[in-house]
Point group: C2
Chain length 217, copies 2
DNA sequence: TAGATTGTTAATCGATTAACAATC
DNA sequence: TAGATTGTTAATCGATTAACAATC
């Protein structure tokens, strides 16, 4: 069973498909063609069929795709059915936003514990997630299978914390610090949520809009 | 002055360059070649030169690039020197994280006001940013030139709020709700920060790692 | 001048789109 | 069976990489 290399572009589109399919399910849509799906997402039908065919044959000729079925396939590809366990380090504003407002469960992830340095937070529990001292992380990692560490510590703590985690065998970090945690060829999986990158891209597009007006594009 | 279309890939790399250049400046590095920069970022030297040459000639043959100068060029391209004004709608956990911990100023953006529905928050001020009632948004937008609206409201409020903003001439939205605000061909600039998309991509890569192990890649 | 490194053109590679046979 | 729509191959397009002349 040869495993073809899936391009990053395809992987980044999968969550978009998932969200759209959830939306269609909510709207009671049971069947959809690549053409219709493409119109709703702004993709070409070809691209959609190519994307899905990276992973198997999920449709049916002459019919299209069964929405709930396709949704389950994509959820599976994304690992949502594997019961991955996550812990959060850093219970500041972002950490609290994630614990209280971000529904990990909805995306198949189990947020089982949080850690912070603040004595006022240690021992507390938010939305069912207990907070312990960061001093206990290493012991915790030894005792529990943790698949993903959510890193939401202040800037200064980012690098030392990340290195400690990597030393303790953590293989995947969801990084909310605006710090580049690892070099280009580290084996650790780091997914960055760089707010500033996103804002600057937006700022660029706003500038571009102004330019275009000036140039009467 | 012909304006070539800049590809999205290039634009998304610009903030990475900026962060790396800031880092180099902090480290006192004044000069860098595309080869060295490429090694640090995991890009090829060719790509770096191509990227920069989309916007002009920022280097010098035989020498390389002047780090602070290059940094200013890229900052300019990203619109960081234009003094864009932003307002925040929704002062929940994410909103507070942005107000208190995210340094808009550092990226050239002026966060001038926030809005919420909660009477306990209205009239308060966080990190120098005053909070008003969402009822006052329309009047505020009429009186002030607002370039970017940061949208951090709950799921249910996302779409109606976005539509209200668009009706009032807002042209750029930084979207922290996990909701698709506009269709594929809306003229409004929307930059999404979809936490779930990011987490699911990470989840995919973790799954992929497990698969690879099983398959003894 | 010689060495270094850019700017830029040409070659390659990969991703997207188009086309169409397969088939439900 | 006829119509529809997929799965998949071929064609196109765009992005990345390589190469090298220009030049500091």
């Amino acid at each position: 069973m040869k495993k073809e290399k899936i391009s990053n572009n395809v992987i980044r589109r999968l969550p978009r498909y998932l969200r759209k399919l959830d939306e269609l399910i909510d709207a009671g849509v049971n069947r959809i063609s690549s053409t219709e799906l493409g119109e709703q997402l702004g993709f070409t039908p070809s691209q959609i069929r190519q994307d899905f065919n990276c992973f198997g044959e999920f449709g049916q000729q002459g019919y299209g795709y069964n929405v709930p079925l396709l949704r389950e396939q994509i959820a599976g590809i994304l690992g949502m059915d594997r019961g991955y366990k996550a812990v959060l380090i850093g219970v500041g504003h972002i950490g609290r936003a994630l614990i209280d407002n971000f529904c990990f469960r909805e995306w198949g992830i189990n947020l089982i514990h949080a850690f912070d340095v603040d004595p006022d937070l240690i021992g507390k529990e938010f939305s069912g997630v207990p907070v312990s001292s960061v001093d206990e992380i290493q012991a915790f990692l030894k005792k529990n299978k943790v698949d993903i560490v959510v890193l939401a510590v202040p800037r200064d703590a980012a690098l030392p914390t990340a290195n400690m985690l990597i030393d303790n065998g953590v293989q995947a970090i969801w990084n909310f610090t605006n710090v580049e945690l690892v070099g280009p060829d580290s084996p650790v999986i780091v997914e960055n949520v760089h707010f500033s990158d996103s804002l600057l891209a937006l700022s660029y597009f706003v500038s571009d809009g102004y330019d275009s007006k000036k140039l009467k594009k």
